[in-house]
């Protein structure tokens, strides 16, 4: 037996090719959308991986530091360091803002990293693609290459100027913004420091307050002003554990003794994926559903019109004794062939489109496989309408009136 579907496709290859390409571009968009979601998840994981932390200690009852704002005392890490099982603990600040370089500004996540006693502290970029790590405690920066900054560039963050001394790769926030690392002290200032007017206002208020400005207690007023203008907060403490320590156990003891909220790596991933990008992923899911419906409609319409064109031939095929099964198989095979052409075109176009996207897009083989499966299911379902119609064709129609 010959393949009726195959012969028909060869005969009407132009129609098939055009439809296949059209469908393919649609499938390409669908695969890219899935890739955008995977990219977001992967950005989140990269963020967690690159922080080098086993535990995140944050302000009590917050989901910080990535999903909610969190603020805790910058000396809390000292107490955490003494907890059993803790290898290292370092302050860190995160602030998403516009970082200026000359006329241009780039949306970036500014990360304040604590000075390392030896080597690299938690929160530091684990590896550089160029330059060196920050060595001075002020005005040096390490930027991700995706920011477009280069070694030696001068960046403006708030009122201070920073020199780029190192470059990283794939160091991005959970929303894909490049990271710019600066010394903790500078970052604290950038995040918590009031502007001059605010300082002046608050100084004036304190001066007018008799309980701060007591004539009989010299030095008190100055101490009050000093404490008001210092920045004793950070967003989180990143903790690494000694080998063989169970993260849950150490996290529980920090929670109990320090009365702070602590997340393990698994919990942090749950927050990023389950909360921070949950709406985005539902948004993308919605798009995927719409694209699936549009694709199904296209396949159904094309297969329907191809079948309509063949109604006479189908009547003849039935009259001369072709089984319903053979006719149904012909139509379904054409739908599947269309799906396969579309999938191939879609996969190729998505692969070529990935580098064009501004954010990270991750195409996984598993998604491609799932996509292929969905495409085939859609094609089979879309062909059912046409098959039903073809099976209803009366062989008597071939004989005519």
């Amino acid at each position: 037996m010959i393949s009726l579907a195959g012969r028909d496709i060869l005969h009407a290859w132009g129609k098939f090719a055009f439809t296949g390409v059209g469908l393919g571009l649609l499938i390409g968009v669908t695969l890219s959308m899935a890739g955008v979601y995977r990219g977001m998840v992967d950005d989140g994981k990269a963020l967690l991986d690159n922080s080098g932390a086993d535990l995140w200690v944050v302000q009590q009852d917050t989901l910080g530091p990535y999903a909610e704002s969190s603020s805790l005392a910058d000396d809390a890490y000292r107490g955490i360091l003494t907890m059993p099982g803790v290898a290292a603990a370092a302050n860190v600040t995160y602030l998403t803002m516009q970082v200026r370089k000359g006329e241009r500004d780039v949306r970036a996540m500014v990360v304040g990293i604590a000075p390392a006693l030896r080597g690299v502290a938690p929160g530091w970029p684990p590896y550089l693609v160029a330059g060196r790590q920050i060595t001075r405690s002020h005005y040096e920066a390490v930027a991700d290459v995706s920011s477009g900054f280069a070694l030696g560039d001068r960046l403006a963050i708030r009122r201070s100027q920073y020199t780029v001394v190192g470059l990283t790769r794939r160091m991005v926030s959970s929303s894909g913004d490049p990271m710019v690392f600066i010394p903790l002290k500078d970052a604290q200032e950038a995040q918590f420091l009031k502007d001059n007017d605010a300082i002046w206002q608050s100084r004036r208020r304190s001066e007018a307050n008799p309980s701060f400005n007591r004539p009989g207690v010299p030095g008190l007023f100055d101490a009050v002003i000093a404490s008001q203008s210092s920045n004793a907060s950070v967003n989180a403490v990143l903790v690494t554990l000694k080998p063989g320590q169970a993260p849950d156990v150490v996290a529980e003891s920090i929670r109990r003794w320090k009365r702070l909220t602590v997340y393990t790596r698994a919990q942090m991933e749950g927050i990023l994926v389950g909360k921070l990008i949950a709406t985005s992923s539902r948004q993308i899911g919605m798009f995927l559903v719409i694209l699936a419906i549009v694709s199904a409609t296209i396949v159904a319409f094309i297969i329907y019109s191809l079948t309509m064109d063949k109604i006479r031939e189908i009547a003849v095929l039935k009259l001369i004794g072709t089984r319903n099964r053979t006719i149904a198989a012909m139509i379904m095979q054409q739908a599947v062939a269309l799906g396969l052409i579309g999938f191939a075109v879609g996969k190729i176009s998505a692969t070529f489109a990935v580098p064009i996207f501004p954010k990270y897009v991750l195409l996984t083989p598993l998604d491609a496989l799932a996509g292929l499966f969905v495409v085939l299911v859609i094609c089979v379902l879309a062909s059912l309408v046409s098959i039903r119609m073809a099976l209803k064709v009366d062989p008597a129609e071939a004989i005519g009136g």
Binding site: M1, I2, H11, V316, I320, G321, R323, A398
Partner: protein
């Protein structure tokens, strides 16, 4: 081999029910011997197509009897379970329009029938080629139907009707689209094929050019058949 390739006795067909019922066939009686070509002639609406459809097992008659060779296929009800296989193996169809499958080449259009019956591709194509040769279109064997002239298409359609060596061929206005030379050629082919393969052939026609070629003619009027002798001119 029985005396008759086709025997129809008291066949009736009523379309619809009640007030709107139409008695398309009231009393049809026909006998066609193997190797014989008979004409079926009647005005429009007389029941010719209904008769072909009944004999072709695509509509169910209301009463009567139909026998193909030694097999009773209808006796106040179908006597054959698989009508599809009956059509495929026992009945060849030739239509007014050739209705070739546009996406199959000439050879495969003809070879499709034996393939559907489970014959291997190579063997089915060999059989198709044999018939195409007999019908003198073997030089078009690899062409697509759209590349053929009307006469060539009709010959391919006849080859398709014959390829499974059915004991019966039903031809519905097979010469209508053809000029008289080609029409006569088609009738000659049908007569040759009937003789060669012992096939009983019914040709439904209005075509004045070919009517004199039949030795026997059935006239049908208002669903009733009358037999009469034809001139049998060119094929005595």
């Amino acid at each position: 081999m029985s005396d008759y390739g086709i025997r129809i006795e008291g066949l009736r067909k009523r379309y619809g029910k009640g007030d709107t019922a139409v008695d398309a066939l009231k009393d049809v009686n026909m006998q066609v011997a193997p190797g014989e070509v008979v004409g079926l002639i009647g005005p429009s609406g007389s029941g010719k197509s209904t008769l072909l459809k009944s004999l072709g097992a695509v509509i169910e008659p209301s009463a009567g009897r139909m026998v193909l060779g030694e097999q009773v296929i209808y006796d106040d009800g179908w006597k054959v379970r698989d009508l599809r296989a009956l059509r495929r193996d026992k009945i060849g169809f030739v239509f007014q329009a050739p209705y070739l499958i546009p996406f199959l080449d000439v050879t495969d259009n003809v070879a499709l029938l034996p393939m559907l019956a489970g014959v291997a591709n190579a063997q089915a194509r060999a059989r198709a080629l044999e018939l195409l040769t007999a019908l003198d279109v073997q030089h078009r064997a690899r062409a697509m139907p759209s590349q053929l002239s009307g006469g060539e298409q009709q010959r391919v359609a006849i080859a398709r009707g014959l390829v499974n060596r059915p004991p019966v061929i039903l031809a519905d206005e097979p010469t209508a689209p053809l000029d008289s030379v080609r029409a006569m050629a088609v009738i000659r082919i049908l007569n040759d094929m009937a003789r060669t393969y012992e096939t009983a052939i019914i040709v439904v026609t209005h075509d004045e050019k070919i009517i004199p070629t039949f030795k026997r003619i059935y006239h049908i009027r208002d669903g009733v058949t009358h037999e009469e002798a034809g001139e049998g001119r060119a094929f005595a």
